[in-house]
């Protein structure tokens, strides 16, 4: 399971969670589904490429019920686009070895490209099924999957190993086991760097990327408006709203002018 930690502000309101980096909501959905599917003898490993704070997101993965986590961390991994990112993930997956199913979220809420899952399948030379709704059956050799494809629902059978991504996202942690979370807090998290993964500098981070962000401009921020506070009695307030909706001028309404 590939996880990306994203900035908390992008997902939750202030103070809702303590960590600065949280699990990307699309990844969280995929992860919780995979954990629910888990059978005896199945091992789930979460990998995450990211800054030091990614460890906190990985600890949450442990608390949610995964067996092991690996943090892919190296200063040379920074600035990676989808090609460089998928290459590092591929090297990590190959190092883990003997992986049957690689699972991603549809996209991240910060980058929002949704490309890594496809790029990763190409890097690994494995079939890829994106936009997964449910895994109906998982055997040693195949997975039966239902997914949305444009205006169709498809039932597919894919030979393993394969790469999949779930379509949906969630911000709700279904069952964080507090005891597990506490234990996870003290767990030494395995870190793999560039040397552990035998990755050449030219293949990762900004150097391994084929795109570069030239500049970033702030755009159409939400405009703060001048408000009319409707604090009269409720019948009057409702009447004003009614008039606005029906497009009638009532002296307060500016709509339609």
């Amino acid at each position: 399971m590939c996880i990306k930690p994203v900035k908390k502000e992008l997902v939750y309101k202030e103070n809702e969670h303590l960590e600065n980096l949280v699990i990307n909501p699309y990844d969280l959905y995929a992860l919780q589904n995979i954990i629910e599917m888990k059978k005896e003898g199945t091992e789930i490993i979460c990998i995450s490429m990211g800054p030091e704070g990614a460890k906190e997101a990985l600890r949450r993965c442990i608390a949610l019920g995964v067996d092991d986590v690996i943090h892919l961390s190296d200063k040379h991994f920074a600035g990676a686009d989808t090609i460089a990112t998928s290459y590092v993930l591929k090297k990590a997956i190959e190092k883990i070895g003997d992986v049957d199913l690689i699972c991603c979220g549809q996209k991240t809420v910060d980058g929002e490209t949704g490309q890594v899952v496809y790029a990763l399948s190409e890097q690994l030379g494995m079939p890829c099924i994106a936009q997964v709704e449910t895994i109906m059956d998982l055997s040693v050799e195949n997975a039966s999957i239902e997914r949305e494809n444009g205006e169709c629902i498809e039932k597919l059978k894919v030979r393993l190993p394969a790469v999949i991504s779930y379509r949906n996202c969630t911000t709700i942690y279904k069952k964080i086991n507090l005891l597990r979370l506490k234990r996870a807090k003290n767990k030494e998290i395995v870190v793999w760097n560039r040397n552990d993964l035998e990755i050449d500098r030219s293949m990762c981070g900004l150097k391994g990327s084929k795109t570069i962000v030239q500049d970033v401009n702030k755009i159409n921020p939400m405009v703060k408006k001048e408000q009319t506070v409707l604090d009269g009695d409720i019948e009057n307030t409702a009447m004003i709203i009614k008039n606005i909706i029906l497009g009638k001028d009532n002296g307060v309404c500016t709509y339609g002018k």
Binding site: R159, T211, L230
Partner: protein, 326 residues
Amino acid sequence: MEYVHMGNKKIWIINDQDVLYATEHVLQILHKGIRLKRNDNDEVSVICVGVNREDELKKLFQYGADRVIFCEQREGYSISLYVKCIATMLEDKLPDVILFPASITGRQTAAMLSVRFNAGLTACCTDIKYDGDKERYVFIRPAMSESVLAKITCINEKLQMCTIKENIFESRFVTNEITFNMEYFSYTEKGLDKNIEVLERKALDLKERVDIKSAKIVFVVGRGMKHSMDLCKTVARQYGAVVVGTKAAVEEKMIQENRQIGQSGISISPDICVALGVSGATQHMVGIKGAQVIIAVNTDVNAPIFEYSDYVIVDKGENILAELAK
């Protein structure tokens, strides 16, 4: 006449269909491709893989394609076959820039080819410009909940790629006087792809689809409205409003997912938006940024949504609804 060959740009549009090629989405991207031509020496080609449908291919020329490169595949169509066809064409013809529709097929093809050819790929562009000084294309896309516009260029390799969502550009009919400038390409698959088998394919139920994009009046519900959904739906019906909601409302099963607005849902621009129990976190506000009039009802006097609203009511959503129902 001077014939300039050096520096001609080959602009490719990848068609994501295998029968009906002239979709509105492809025609929109085609028109953008034509606008990227610097002069008549630059060439816009549409790449089609699938069955031979002359009427469909003709329409591509009517909408301005200089050339259609066509690879006939009558059966055994699969995504891996499709990608292999296009990859073989790519090696043969070396385009400069490739524009893909951001459909599932388009995205997957783009991302796989970008890895295979080490080509830079920008997802979901909202504009593309040509930088004459540096002889490269500049891909522009929103990021971080549509709060910023990023300008992205390709580095390290010549081939440049991007995907484009539907309805970003406009399609435009060019002419009926067309030349059928077809280029045929053949590719034969050695052995069928047995990795993915389609067991069943059925169209999504049409009745489930709601056109929330063109709604004039919407009621947006947040988690706070959990116990008043019946009332909310009744009042909405009474006023001809469409009920939509935040991600939280979907997770609480108050509304169907196809009615979700905001960052991970849909952005709407209604005339009137009545927000009931919506706090106004950035990821929701993105979805109703285009609303002309926002009426916000929330019990929390400090709810962020109030700052962006025209009318502010500090009350329970259900109280207001109960009044509106009368």
